[in-house]
Structures are given as C-alpha cells and as structure tokens.
Point group: D4
Chain length 249, copies 8
C-alpha cells in the first residue's frame, strides 16, 4: 500500500494527475456495489486466496450475481459456505462449474488447486455427528490448496480408537480437533501433537451441552499448550486458519 501512496504522490507532483483525481483515488473504494452486498476484490489480491461467500441468509439470485461479478474479475475458485442443497441446484443452473459438497454444505465454483502446503492438515472429530462441521473444515482446507487427512469418530471415551492414529497425529502440520459434548478431544490431541491444534466446539450434544457452550468452555481451558479455539460449528474458520499455518514460509 505504501508504494501505491508514493506512486500516487509522485504522479501528483509530476502533474500526471490532478489533485482532485488523486483525492478521489485515495477515497475510491476497492469494491463493487451490487446493491445488496459490497464485493471485495482487493481482498483476493491482498491475501492470495479464493474468495468466500457466506451463503446463509442470501438468496440464490444474490449468490448468482455475486459469483457472476467475481468471475468477471477472474476470481477462482469461489467458495460458498452454509449453502443449502436447494439453493445449490439453482446456482448450478446459472454456473455449471459449481461442485456441491452436501455433507459440508459447501459449493465450489472453479477448479480446486493442487495441494501445495507444507504438509497435511489432519481433521479429527470426537463422534460421527461432528462430521458436517469437519467436512466444512476439510473442504475449505482443500479448496485453499492443502492435503487433508480425516480421522473421524476418534473420541476420547475410547482412546483405543485414537491411539492407532498416533503417527498421523505426530506427523501433521496442523490439526483441527472438532468435538461437541465435553470437547475433551482438543486437550488429548493437543497433548499428543507437536503442531498447532485448532479446536472447533460443535453444537452436538443435549442437555448441559447448551448448544456447544460446554465444549467451548472446555476447549478454552485446555491444559495442553498449542491449542486455540474458533467459534462453535465454525468449520470454515478452522479450515481457513489451518491453511494459513500450513502455507507459512
């Protein structure tokens, strides 16, 4: 950004552009206004990543429009999270290159890149009910160019399910630990692993699980080092964070 400002100032000095133009440029927003959403095109450049549309609460028509605008700017791939099957079908009519992952409730427009991260992102869950959140995390990580290994249903109440995968856990570059109920998986995995662990509490459970609050508090208090937490059911956030870490250089 510094260079842009300097370039601009130099142009002003050289009278290549007028003061008014420069002022305007400094103010002109790097986004396109579709009426219902400001599409942010600079972010793609700034962060070097696919663009994401949060699908919950948007109509299929709105999403078709946003994808259209993105395509014109050659953004690819485009990730749509929290996308219902019904809306996915409608979008697919307009954009045939949409792939829909039903477990993850994710749609992807465009080609998924080859994995180019430092190593594997391991996604593990406590139970089978946590799989939708896990798939949101896993597909996200894959779309961002990571190799993903899935270890599902390895909850701590049966350690003999988790222990056979010790090697996978020891060799991971990043681990996403996903669990509802008491959320103990994060601590157990965090104590085994050598790498950053991103914990995702899920709203799986009943009674005193309080829609994920129990798992959230449990994970926040993990006695293992190297564990940090994202919002309840936020598979996307975990996948995105894991991708960032797996692409450090």
């Amino acid at each position: 950004m510094k260079t842009e400002i300097r370039e601009l100032l130099e142009k002003v000095r050289n009278q290549e552009i007028s003061v008014e133009e420069a002022e305007l440029i400094l103010k002109k927003a790097p986004f396109e206004d579709l009426g219902y959403a400001k599409v942010d095109f600079h972010r793609n450049l700034r962060q070097g990543e696919p663009e994401v549309i949060y699908g919950a609460g948007k109509t299929a028509e709105q999403m078709i429009g946003i994808v259209e605008a993105m395509k014109q700017r050659r953004v690819s791939p485009i990730l749509i999270t929290r996308l219902s099957e019904e809306k996915a079908k409608l979008i697919a009519e307009a954009h045939e290159d949409l792939t829909f992952f039903s477990h993850a409730k994710i749609g992807v427009v465009g080609e998924v890149p080859e994995p180019d991260g430092l190593g594997s992102v391991v996604v593990c869950t406590g139970g089978t009910s946590d799989i939708p959140v896990a798939e949101e995390a896993a597909i996200t990580a894959e779309v961002y160019g990571n190799r993903v290994e899935r270890l599902y249903d390895v909850g701590v109440a049966g350690l003999h399910r988790l222990l056979p995968h010790l090697e996978t856990i020891m060799q991971a570059k990043v681990i996403i630990a996903i669990a509802g109920m008491e959320g103990a998986l994060a601590s157990v995995v965090g104590g085994m692993a050598d790498c950053p662990v991103i914990a995702v509490p899920t709203s799986v459970g009943y009674g005193a699980a309080f829609d994920g609050l129990a798992a959230l508090l449990s994970m926040m208090n993990s006695c293992a080092s190297g564990v940090s937490v994202v919002n309840i059911d936020n598979g996307f956030g975990a996948g995105y964070m894991a991708n960032m870490i797996n692409h450090m250089s």
Copy 2:
C-alpha cells in the same frame, strides 16, 4: 420401620401404653437439640456409617459441643470437613483424639476402621492444584473403611503420565476423577475403566474456567458411560459415594 409401628400398635391394643403415649412416640424426633444444631443420631444407625460435621461456618466451640454429644452416644469415628487448622487446634484441646489432615482440611475424632470394601477406590487428579479436593475425597473414603490409591497429576494433556497406571485403573472398584480447567480427565478415565467413575469438577483454573463451571459442564457431558458428577470441589461427596459403591453386597 414397619415393625416399630406394628410393635407400637400392638402395645396400644394390648393397652401396654396409652393412646397419648403412642401418639407422642410417633412424633418424638430422633435427634438431640443443642440449640445451634440438631444432631442426628438415627442416621448413624440407619446408614451404618461414621457421623459427619460440616465445619465451614461453625465455631470451634460449637463443634466441640457436637463432638461431645456424639461421643456420649458412642458415635465413632467422627469426620469434620472444611476444618481450618486454627479451629482444629482448638478442638484438639478439648478432644485429644482428633487427627487433623491439613491438605484435606479434615479432622477425624476416633479410630479409623480397617478397610473392608470390595476393593480399591482410586482417586486421580488432573493437576497438582486439585490435590486438596482429592485429599478430602481420599481421607473421607479411608475413614469410611476403604483402601485408597492415589494417582495425582495425571492430566490428559500428557497421556503418557496416565497410561502407565492403566492397570491400576482397570482394577479399581470405584474411581474418583478430579479435575479443574477443562475437566477432560473424567471422560478419558471413564473410557478406560470398567467401574463407576465419580467426577469432581474443581474450581482450579482461571479466565473462562469460571470457578469450575467449565469443568462441571464438561463432566456432565462426558461421552463415556458410567460417569456421574458431584458438586464443584465436593471431595467429601465423592468419597462418600465411592464408599457406598465399594461396600455394595
């Protein structure tokens, strides 16, 4: 109790006692009133156990009086929980047979019986800060006639600390799992063990531990079967419950 009623009714019929006397007997309370506390002598008979005084909020003088009254009824041993060192000294002046366990903050008046339970009660903690609660549980269990094995500082973030004790855990008759912070120990031990696990959340931790709430919720949601929970920091309750289970017959 039925037989007592029947006996009484038979005496009434046989006019061995008057109606008025019978009515009085039915009402007469099985306790002695010291003014500041109703001492419950039937309970000792009914449950076959030592008597317990909850020391918090009672003066040394009050406790000396209660112990005195109990001794006259030949109650032994007497367990005083949440007893400060200062008050313990004052009580010991009046009752020389008081033994004070400073970690557990428990005083015991009278002889501790030989262990006669089915097997061992295993008391394990996640960290060293949980030890006072653990000692309250352990001493309680011992005073009630149980052999106790202590496994302290075996928290789940370092499973290699817990795994060497697998055999102890597998052979326990009852396990008391005590942990603060995220309270995951209960789930992990519950998944390993064959026996009932009594979980005690502790107020150890900071921040989002919220004085034991995180551990409490975590333990309530344990995905392991055979785990039940007592109040935060309630070592006595866990020891008492463990004793009951270890004396099933």
Copy 3:
C-alpha cells in the same frame, strides 16, 4: 491387556511372528470401520456388557448396518437409544428380533438377560412428564440384567405420595431419581435412602426451569450425601451407572 502384550513379546522372542507383524498388531485398531462409524468390538469384551448405539442423528440404514456387523460378531443384546418409532419400523424390517419400547424410545435387538444384580434398581420420578426419561433409564437397566422397580409421579410437593413407598426406597440397591422443575426429589430421596442415588435432571418445566438448568443446579447442590448427577434427560447414562453399581462384587 498386560497378558496380551507379554504373549506378543514372547512370540516375538520365539520368532513365532516377525517384528513387523508385532508392530502391526500393536497398532491394529480393535474396531471395524463401516465408513460412517467405527464399531468398537473390544468394548464388549472389556466391559462384559451389551453394546449401545446412540440412535439420534443416525439413519435407519446406518443403524441396520451397524447391527448387522455386531450380529456377525455375536454381540447380543444390542441397545439402540433415542430411536424414533419411524426408524424402529425400518430397522425391524431388516432385523425382526428388534423390540421397540415407545416410551423409552429404545430398541433392543436380541434377548434381554435375566436379572442377576445384587438387588433392585428403583427408578422414581417427580411427575408424569418425566416418564420418558425414566423409561430410558429403566429399560437400559433391564437390558443390562437388573430388576427394576418404578415409582412414578412421587414428587416432593405431595410427600404423602412418596412416603408409602418408604420401604421400597429403603431396600433399593441403587436409586435413580428423575425430576425436572426444581429437582428436589433427589435431595428428599437421598436423605431417606441407604444406597447410592443417581440424579437425572430433566428438561421438564417452563420459564425459569431453563430447559433443565434449574434442576441440574439443584441436584448438584443436594444437601444429601450419596447423590451424584448425570446430564439433563440422560436416562441411559443413569441406567448404565446403576447397572454397574448393582453388579459390584
């Protein structure tokens, strides 16, 4: 487990198996992977109990598959909790030996064993609305080989309903006390009984009952000794724990 390791090591020494095989065996997980769930067959051996399937969130097809796999390993009986009537019918088409308990929402595949516990498990509820949770607890205990006595609708606001059953309560080996609203039943029963009491808060109530939170906190704070608590509405957990205690030896 110790013996298995030793046996294995002896075989290695005797060169009955190769190092590579031994390594593999140590790692090979004691479960069968059906893709959607890891079925845990060791647990049946380890704990000597029927196997349990948590039915909520599983499709009938998935459950049919899991039951099939279990049957091949001769697991019997199989308990399916939180099972809807609709899915029960579908499963019964594939597995005719399914018995469905509609109040408890439990399905049982295979023969229920004769009661062989130490004595009776008493299941009592505060009101009629708590009965579904109570039946989940009662059927669970029965499937695990316990004689169960039901005392329903004996809430504390009408002690004259509870008192006639004093003898039943005094003779129980384990009591499961189930109540919503203010959850006082646990304390009252706990004060009467000589045996362990497992308290189950239910989500019955409205307003400040906060979906079982009031009952949960109330039960956690029970002033009676020998009371421990499981999750809100967790009838299965209480039945399982009661079975463990009733089979101590």
Copy 4:
C-alpha cells in the same frame, strides 16, 4: 387521596386558598430532605407500619440523623436493617433506645408492638448457615407485630427432622422457607402447608450454588402451589410480606 383532592378543590372554589397555593400543595412533596436522603413520612401513614432504614452503605452519622428526623415526626418503632455491630454502637450512643439483634444485623429504635396478627409466622431454614437471613426475617416480622415460630435446621435431606413439626407447619398463617444450596425446602414445606409460603434463597453453599442462583431457580420452579419468592438473602422482604399477609382483614 381522593378526599384530599376534593377538599382542596372545595377550598379553591370557596376561595379559602388561592390557585397558586393549591398548585403548590399539589406539588409539595411529602418528604423531608436531609441532603443525603429523602425521608419519606407519608409512607408511615399510608402503610400503617414502622419505618425502615436500609443500613448498608450508610454512615452511622447519616443514620443518626435520619432516626432523629423520624423521631421528631413520632415514627416508632424504627427498623434498621443490614446494620453492622460497629455502627450499631455508634448509633446507640445517640439513641439509647436502640436494641441491636446481632444475628439478624437489625437495630430497632423504640418499642416493639405486641403481636396482633391473624396467627403465627413460621420461619424455617434448611441449615444452620441460613440462620442470619432467617433472623432478619423473624425480627422484621416481630417488629411489625407478628408472633414468630422458628424451625431452624430442618432441611429436606433429613425429613425426620422436619416431620415432627408437621403440626406447626399445618397451623401456620404464613411460612417463610429459607434455604441455600438446592433450596428444596420451599417445595417440601409448600407441599405440606395450607398457607402462603414465602421462599428466600440464600447465598449459602459453594461451587454450583453460584451464590444463591441454584436455590433461586429451584424455588422459582417449585412444583408446590402457594409458593412465591423474594431476592437472595432478602430476609427483610420476606418478613415484611409475611406481616402484610398475617394482617389481612
């Protein structure tokens, strides 16, 4: 109040007072301003009761001044709640007719009237730690002219302590049920009694008692009819309400 307005209007019509005076009278506040507190003298007339000073957070000097002003208006007796012993001594130097009740932390200036209510107010507590709150309620009720019967330490975990007092409970006009921890006393007493029960949760307990929250929620959800609740530790409020009910006519 209607008659006062009418009288005033008639005086205006009869030109006994000017419009300006009438306007002033309508506005003139029925209280005296001491700078630090508005002393409310109409309330004594309006409600026919002793005046109350909430002592917490007021200096001894302020309270001496308020009592002085009240005495000049012939208010008697005067009740000072949440009064520390230290401040009580200072006030007693200025107002020798102060009686201080140390358990209740209440000071009374002036004569306590003879009981003239419909019957007895029964004040019962779950444990001995609830006594300070109970005494605040009991002394308050006495100062307002009620006969009070105290049933302390009759908690539900030992029903045999409560049952001998069944007759007292059945004959009460109002019952104040005071308990911390799980607060079950309110439901049990409410189920036995024929009269209104005012429940007072106390902050007695630890862990998941959460400073009285557990007892508060428990009492709000009482399954007994005829139970209503005041604030945690609010003995005064319960005593005042009980007095109102016991003086219905």
Copy 5:
C-alpha cells in the same frame, strides 16, 4: 391429621379394627392410580380448594379419565390449565359441563363458586401481550372464589395510564402485577399499594429480554417492599397464591 391418627389409635385400642388393618390404613395412599397419573384426593380435603390438572403434555383421553375419577369423588370445580382449544373440545364431548376460557387456556368443570374472599384481587399487566398470562391468573382466582378486577395495558412507560387507577390499586386486597420486557410494573405498583403484590414475569419481549429472564431478575430486585415473585408466565401460581392471601382469616 392428628385427630385421624388419634381416632385410629383409639379404634385399635378398642379393638374395633385389627392391628393389620390399622397398619394398612396408615399406609394406604390417599390417591387413586390411573396408570398414567396418581390422582390426589386428600389434597382437596386438606386445602379446601378446587382440584387442578396441569394440561400441558397430557392427552385429552388422560384428562377425561382424571376428571371422571375426580367427579366420582365429588370434586368440584375442576380446573384444567394450559389446555389447548383442540383438547378442550374433545374433553367437552365427554364432560359437557366444561367451560373453556380461550385467552387463559383454562377449562373449568363444574360450577364456579361465588366470590367470598376478603376483597378484590387486582390483576394488572404492562402490555396487551401479557394478557394470556393475566387471564390464567384471573380465571384461577375466580374459580377459587375471588372477585377479580382487571387493569390491562397500564405499563410504566405511560404512567398516565396507571395513575387513573390509583384508587383501585389502593383498595385491592392482593395485586398480581404481570409484565415482560423490563418488568418495572411490579416495583411501581408495589410502591403505590398497601397490600401484597405477586409479580409474574412474562416471556414477552425480544432480544435481551431472554425469554423472561430480564423481567424475572428485575422483579426479584424490586426496591418496593411487599413484592414476591413466581415463575415466568406462571399465571396459575399467582392466582392461587392471591386466593390464599385473600382468604386469610
């Protein structure tokens, strides 16, 4: 109850009945078991009041049966709360003397008695949305023999709506103050009135009203004396309590 016991004992002494019979009578529960509910017939005698059926969660068939059993014992009137219109119609087919109050969701079987209380029960609400709860309270009070005055929509944000009714409030024997949102009505009415005020928080509101929690806490903390609180939306409880107070003698 004392007299019953004494009578029985006298009969035993006079050998009018056998010991066994007496024992049986002492144990025989004063309720009838319909399989799905214990109907409590002593309560009607003990408290001199209509019997109440909590309709939520009961089928029309169950309620028809309970009413039938009550009628055979000549209980009248019978109050059914939380009764849906649909079920009311079904019950009315079996019991033609059912009157259904749709706002209150209350059904009454039998004659409503003439008001015979000390005076009026005033039921006031903050807004129009609180009316269903208010009608539950009002109909309850009426069925129990109280004259009821309704002051609806007199919330504190428009005091000029409340002030014209000052006289009604001043002359009430009991006031039921019902409000959601911030629940301030209880404090304002409590400050005006000379009589006991029963506050009912309602779940009316949105956002930080948290389903009645805001009103509940607000009412618990009322700075007015003579205010006590029942559960959120508990119109029945308030009406019942008001009736008790209005029938003091």
Copy 6:
C-alpha cells in the same frame, strides 16, 4: 401540564365548572379504551411525534381498529413496526393509505413529513444480514422527519470498506451502528465520529454469538466515548432516539 392544572383550578375558583367535574377531569384518562388496547392520544401532543403501533402479536383486525381510532383523532403519520406482509395486506384493504416497507417490516399510514432535522442520520451495518434491523431504524427515522444516509456492509473486518465513507461519518449528526457477531462496528465508528453513536446489537451470527448477547456485551463495553446501546434488533428504538437527538434545539 402545569398550565392545564392551573386553568382547571381557575375554572373551579370561578365556578365555571363544579368540583365534581374538576375531579372527574383530573381522573379522566387521556386515552381511549378499545377493549384490547389503551390508545394513548396525549402522547402525540406531549412528544410532538407520529404515533407508533407495535405490530408483533396484534391481529390485523386489532390494528385496523387502532388506526381507525387514531385517524379520528387526526394522528398522522402512523407507524406500525414488526408488521408481517400478510397482515399489511389486510390492513391495506381497510386503510388504503398504508405504505409497506418489506425489508423493515414497517407500515406507514399517512404522509411522511419532509426532513427537518439538524442534519443527517447515518445508518451503518456490519454485514448484509443486519439490513432488516437497519431498515427498521432508517424508515423510523425518515417517518419522524430525518434525512437518512445508509452505509451497509461496512464491517470492521474490511476497514477499506468503511474508510471511504469517513467523510459521511464525520459529517453525521447522529450515527446508528448496527452489527451482530462481535459488534465491533460500534467501537470503530465511535472512535471516528464526532457525534452521538447509537449502537444496535443484532441477533445475526451463530454459535457463541448467543442470539446477540456477544454483540450486546461488546457494545456495552465499547472503549469509544459517545456510544450508547439499545436492545438487540431494536431498530425502531435506535431510529426514535436518533430522531430525538437530530431535532434538539
């Protein structure tokens, strides 16, 4: 109001009206009773503003009646908030001059006045999902005579979206900052602006957003001066407050 009282008193003195009439006038409430709602006509005079009907929970018929009554008193415009499309259609049949704003769920009967405030009210939102709340605020402000500028989807995670509008923010007279999730918009805008900021937390978000609680707490703790908060999703309240401030003089 003073003048009205004085005028009345003068009429009494001058015997232009009788004492009884004066008494009646003082009591006669400034509202009209439609049975289901007290319509408040003084408020329009007292506050000089359009009248508002809170549409949630009212039937179309009730609202038609209230509008009718208002029209007869020449109240205009009339604002109906939380109005569903379905009910709006029914009302429009009776009152053709109803304009319905579907995003805001607001209906307006009558002419919207020209803006006459001090300057602009700026309504900004963090995301597109907050727009319904924002439109409720914006339409409210417009109906009350304010010029409104909308800045939607300028959340803090992309400051480059907000910064281009710095001038708009700097020149606003009042700002309404609307955001769910973490609610940080209020602090950021509050730190930039020179004018009062009214923050509206929304229930947008999932997981630990807890239906707006996270945003509410965040906004309450804003480290920027000049920020105050209204209830979750309370667009109307913010618009009304903004109007008051923008019409200061």
Copy 7:
C-alpha cells in the same frame, strides 16, 4: 480532514514539500509516545472537547506525566476519572490546579468552562447508593460545559418522590437515569420525558442483582422510547454522551 489531504496534495503538486515528506505526514501519528501511554492530541481538535485520562490502573507518576504532556500542548481542562483520593493528593503536589471531586472520584486540571449547552442535563438516581456514579456523570457533564440538575433518591418504589419533579423532567434537554437493583427508573423517566434518556445501570444491590446485570437487562428492555444504555457504573460515558446531545447544533 478532506481539506488537509487536499492541501497536502496541492503542496506536493506545487513542490512545496517532497513526496517523502508528504508520505511521512500521511503516516505520522498524531500522538506523543510516553512509553506507557500514547497521548492522543488530535482528539482534542477533532472532537472539540477536554481530554480524559482513565485513572484506574495508572500510577500517580504516570498521570502526572500525561498531564504534563497535555499541558505543554495547552489542553485544558483535563479530566481524570476513577481517581483515588490518595493518588489525587500526589498529583496535586505536581499540578496545583487539580480540583478533586471525592464523590465522583474525578480530578479536574484547569478551568471548568461556563455552561453553553442547549439546556439542562438532568441527572437522577433511584437511591442514595447510586450517587457516586451519578456524580461521575454530573461532574463530567459540567466539565464539558453543561448546566446540570441533580435529582437524587427518586426511585420508582416511591413515585411521590419523583412526581414533584415532573416539571424538571419535562424541561430537560437530556436526562441521565441511574439506578441499580431493578433499574426501573429508566422506563418511568423515559415514559415521562420528551428528551433523550441515557440509562446507567449500577452495581448497587445484592443477590439476584448480580452486580448490575439485572439493572442492565431491565434497562435494555425498557418499554419507553428514547432510552439507550451505557455500561454498568459508567457515569463518565453517560455524561459524555449527554454533553454531545446537549451541544447539538
């Protein structure tokens, strides 16, 4: 700010300053770094107000230094909030022109300006315990150039205390309503007043007041329009906001 950018760009074009200098100016932070705090001097210009130091958690030495730096920039007056008496004395030794307001815990360095707002800011409290928060608000408003009227101890449980001040309330330009316990004052005052009301919940109260949470929720849910809320005990925030509104033009 626009003009500054434009001026700068014009200087660049006119080569009055170099590109590097311009770049530096655009970046140069408008603050002075004292090591322990970034003093913000632009804010005074930007917002036209006195500068504020939040005293809690700062040493007297740090505050002396900050005041010194501000004085050199001719900032006056300087407001120090949450200032203990002890630290105030130390600061007064270095800066003799410090005035300390002990109730408000506010120190003011420099001259307090003459009131120049549109009208009066009325600060009212529910009780005497709320006065410290009220004084923080009142002194803040005065230092910012507002005339303040104080109405203390006018809580809603005694409306006759509040009603005499109706005229003051009706004529206010802004009202700050401060209350703990149930916080009803905000709704009552909000219903009476014609002007914006800023509500401040206080931590005054006990039990279910939960350190201000009850008052906070109550105020958030105020059924009166024109009420917004600041943080618990945040007298400064309310005074600052009131000043902004009272200086609209």
Copy 8:
C-alpha cells in the same frame, strides 16, 4: 516413537533384553516423580522446546526442586509463568541464572536462544492495562526463539493509533491481538493482516465486561477470517502457539 517400539521389538527378538524388561520399558513412565509433581522430560525431546513451569499455586521450594531436576537433565531454558516477585527472589537465591520479567511475571532460567523463526511475532494490545498479559505472551515467544514486535495501546477507538503501524501488521508472520472490554482489536487486526491472528481476551474492564467474558465472546465471533482464540489472560498460551506457527517448516 515407532522406531523406539521397533528397536525394542528387535532387541526382544535378538534376546538382547528379556520379555520382562521389554514389558517394563513399555510401561516405565518417561517422567520423574518428585512427590508433588511429575516432571515430564520426554516432552522436551518430543516438542523441541523449553520446559514450562506454571508458577501459580506452587511454593518457591517446590519450584526450586523442579528446576533442579530439570537442570540435571540439561533442560534449558526453563520458563516459569505466573511467578510472583517474592517467589522469584527466593528461587534466584538457589538458581542464580534466573532472570525475572516483572511485567510478564515470568522467570527464565538459562540462556534465551537467538530468534530463529520465519519472521516477527507482533504483539498488540488495545490499552495499557492489557500490557501484563501482552508481556507474558511476548517474553514467552522470545524465550522460544522468536523476534517480537510490540504495538501497545493501539485500540480501535482511535484507529489513527493503529493505522501508522499498518506496515508492521502487514509484514508480521503471526499476530497476537490482546484486548479486554469489547475485544474489537482482534477483528480489526484480523481484517488487515495476511497472517494468523491469535486473540487473547483479557479481564480488563468493568461492569458488563464480566471479567473478560465480553471480550471472549466478541473474539469468538470475529467476522475476520484467520482469527482463533485462547483463554482469558492466557498470554503464555498465545506466545506458545505463535512460536509453533512461526517455526513451521
């Protein structure tokens, strides 16, 4: 670990060690038992990091012993967190090579290694009160071999304080964003940065900050991608996680 097992198995096969010895080795715990704490020496090897002692709740004597044991195993450096100045002095007497960082409350025994991470860890705080937590994070990161840049007091209410550091933020490898109150810093920084952001809520604030809960919820709901959260005030956890990420390879 695999190789260790294989090596061991090979030794068994080659009869270099006996079966019993092998069995023992598999069980022998990789820790030394000091009675009060199990010191974990494998962890240093496993994770290649300094060893950490959590100082809160340990006596100086215990820590001296633990350090002694670690030194004998040549562990260096050793980090002691939550260390009071008083205890630090005592430890320094036994271990002269202790360096104490008073703001961070961290003691370091041994040499701090040269930074060898991928780039800088940027530690930024919202206010000056957050600095102790920030220093705990910063010193931790430094001891683990990272270059740290500190940006303190750059809270979002004054964006002009944060914006000059945009370049530092853009070039960071990992950012630790520390804030109390509303915790908005995490979202703003997360929106600007290209790298992982670890958010640390602090208990700084008052009133509705609820000891860090507001900041915690706010950060959990951050609308910026690439943000994850650790426990309230957990500077160590953030520093440790940042180190892991900054050493990815």
